[in-house]
Point group: C2
Chain length 484, copies 2
């Protein structure tokens, strides 16, 4: 039974974090950047921070409540007299400044297009909290956290940006987004084609729900990425779960594990063991998502091709349980301690809890994305998908039940015949490509594949280490934008 | 100042009723039909009445409130094993049974397409009241009366109809609608192209708001219809307002007018006079909308080409005020008393108040349609459009303020480049064509003009008296449906 409850916890706490992993570390990252003379090698982009008053409920007249939605604007390259396009990032589940810093592609091409660069924050994230600190307290405050409401907010921001322009507006809006933000960029074009001229939708798992994708597809892709780095690496990880459970069967073993993994909080109970294993599970997927060809700090500070680094100590079959545990820890140190500054590993880390809560809630309403692993065709512990248990856990936490088919009915899933001017890009190294649009749907709903790409690599700033495929993808993006 | 307040009243009470005129008389019509052996010459169509439980707020998870939405289904021609299309009427502001009886076109072609025929009621009308009898009591109950919420209801009904079908669904949905229902049929295709394959949008004034149409266009078309019937008819009506006001300046005059017009409630105050004049204003527009080539009872029992009938006593210039008043009364008797059964004229008629209230509320939120007349280029009293006054009156009545540009931002107005598979049909005798799409927007967003057509004549059942243009329009509709 402990196993079952583990799995439910896994789906509620870990799966959302997959998309959201970006949010687990932002506070520590910010601390680094503001730290004592550390060299910050990231590009930093400038903007003016603005706020727009928007209705809490965009689809009724019942409440007059409003709140302040944050958005970031840079008009360096924009000619107000003869306005060019608006590059509009449809913010996803996190502080919008993080996306502004990690979407270099928009900045890289802004001058070429003389574009206004805008990043709009998603309601209930960052500083855009409809009910301030109370926003997450009760179902009645949280209920307005939906994709449709967020899209309507974005339309309101576009209205503000285009104030004074005649209709049809002079400045075509090009929506950009990655991951859930990529879903939103596609959907804003779909629902408001008269407002948004086209969308670059990067690594958007629009098919991840409503039974459109087998629940194990994600786990299988993660596994294949590790297998490609070193076949025995995936095999060692697959075997490690049992090894870790074996070790933790005794109190001595738990103590050894706590010491070996430098755990901030030593493990004592079966729940503690589950937490450690969930952390590892999450670490492998984050590293796969951030498997970029150069060092980056999007999902935590990591070296180039971090999957290879994790696999270094795991390249050869390790048979002994404790030896395997040590190799595992050595490998994942790349993920949580690439800088070498971490003294301990805190698997209960809950920095930015608020943001994680937001996605957790969305995953319990309209964004439920069934995930599973079978422990045979993938390198994870067996964790079957159980819709009823998932729903029950959602109700226990949030007093809501998931609408598993909602995105399908609202946004059409694979049926995109009625839409146009959308590019879906996917990196084939990215586990989220499991739920991506991987083939052209029509002349104007196109798929771009990036064989060497991890999670929305194409939206990142250009880098000398970029593989040819991502350069090609960015060239295509620019061609499409020019056409729209 | 009395004039000003007249005008605001006019915009709040009369303009909504223009679209809605259909609703002023349904109760009396129903009474007729259930009456003592009267011959009912209307076609009657059979259906099963069903109800679906839908959320009050389709766009948040804050409330769990649900209500029962009514819809009518006829599966006579539908083969469940090999399901054909679903003909789906997107209900507008009224009891859905009325639209089922007045949209003969869908019934006429159902067998040819082996279609399932469905009429779905719009929330807050007919029997689909989200909060029962309380629905209109307070702003907090009324606030969910919006077009977007109604569209989401319709999508839920389609979901119910297609239960068990695989996705993409086997049965293409063709949306039909007239007037506001036509706006909804176009918009459901626009917002849910993966659910609805195409839309026949008849006499839909989608351009009537947000400054897309001059506020006097409607009045001018009504005038031209009367002018075409008899130039002096429009001229007499134009002069009648002053004549009626002259007469009602004295108590004797008011008594004379009350008697001459067989008023149920004699006029005493200036407000009573305004009410009579508003009723006349409304009568002329209703008659123009229902200017069908055969007797019909859509907007009340009327003869063929009722504008001609209204104009019969007004064909020659009538100079004397009282003579003119008598001729006016004689003319409009065609509108309220074609059957000869009315003993009195009740200008305070408020049958179906609830439905009128619904549209009045919508006209005060997202459906505000600026209307005006100048008394020179049109046959109406001067009634300038005053946005501030309108907004103030809305707030006084409903505690809401209109969002004058809302439909433009939500649905794009004239910018339909991103949409497809919509036919906008307009009768050029119909005043609402003022706000219609009158030219092709693209290969798949097409305009069909019906020079001899009044308000959504093409959606009515075929009739030997139909002009060639409406027969042609229906042929085109069928071709489009076959393509979709």
């Amino acid at each position: 039974m402990a196993y079952d409850s583990c799995c439910v916890t896994r789906h509620l706490a870990v799966v959302p974090v997959l998309l959201l992993a970006v949010l687990l570390l932002p506070q520590s990252l910010r601390a680094d950047n503001a730290g004592d003379g550390e060299t910050d090698t990231k590009p930093t982009y400038g903007y003016v921070t603005k706020y727009l008053t928007v209705p809490v409920d965009q689809f009724s007249f019942t409440w007059n409540d409003t709140f302040q939605l944050r958005y970031l604007v840079n008009d360096t390259w924009w000619d107000k007299q003869k306005p060019g396009p608006i590059f509009f990032y449809t913010g996803n589940e996190g502080d919008i400044t993080l996306f502004a810093q990690n979407t270099g592609f928009m900045w890289d091409i802004a001058a070429e297009f003389r574009a206004l660069v805008v990043f709009a924050e998603h309601r209930y994230y960052g500083k855009s909290l409809p009910f301030g600190a109370k926003s997450f307290e009760e179902p009645k405050y949280l209920g307005y956290l939906t994709a449709q409401q967020a899209l309507a907010d974005f339309v309101a921001v576009i209205g503000e940006l285009r104030k004074g322009q005649s209709f049809p507006r002079q400045s075509p809006v090009i929506a950009f987004g990655g991951s859930y933000g990529g879903m939103l960029s596609a959907w804003i074009r779909m629902k408001y084609p008269h407002i948004v001229s086209g969308a670059i939708s990067a690594s958007a798992p629009v098919l991840m729900s409503a039974g459109l994708t087998p629940c194990d597809a994600f786990s299988r892709i993660v596994t294949s990425v590790y297998h490609a780095a070193a076949p025995d690496c995936a095999e060692n990880i697959k075997r490690s779960w049992k090894a870790l459970r074996n070790i933790s069967n005794t109190d001595d073993g738990k103590a050894w594990l706590s010491k070996t993994f430098s755990l901030k909080k030593a493990i004592h109970t079966p729940a503690d063991v589950n937490t450690l294993l969930e952390w590892l599970n999450n670490a492998y997927t984050d590293v796969a998502m951030a498997n970029y060809p150069y060092p980056a700090d999007f999902l935590g500070d990591m070296p180039a091709y971090p999957v290879h680094e994790v696999c270094k100590p795991l390249r050869k079959r390790v048979k002994d349980d404790k030896e395997l545990a040590k190799a595992i820890f050595q490998g994942v140190s790349v993920y949580f301690n690439y800088t070498g500054r971490a003294k301990v590993l805190d698997v209960n880390n809950s920095d930015s809890l608020l943001d994680v809560s937001g996605w957790d809630y969305q995953a319990c309403t309209e964004m439920a994305m069934p995930m599973c692993s079978d422990g045979r065709s993938d390198m994870f512990e067996r964790a079957p998908w159980n819709e009823a248990e998932y729903s029950k856990a959602c109700f226990a936490t949030w007093k809501v039940r998931p609408k598993f088919n909602m995105t399908l009915w609202e946004f059409g899933g694979r049926d995109l015949r009625g839409s146009s001017n959308i590019v879906f890009s996917n990196g084939l190294l990215d586990p989220w490509s499991a739920g991506g649009i991987l083939r052209n749907m029509s002349d104007s709903v196109q798929a771009v594949l990036i064989p060497e790409g991890a999670h929305h690599l194409d939206l990142r700033s250009q880098n000398p280490a970029d593989p040819a495929s991502v350069r090609g993808a960015r060239r295509l993006h620019r061609q499409h934008i020019r056409k729209w």
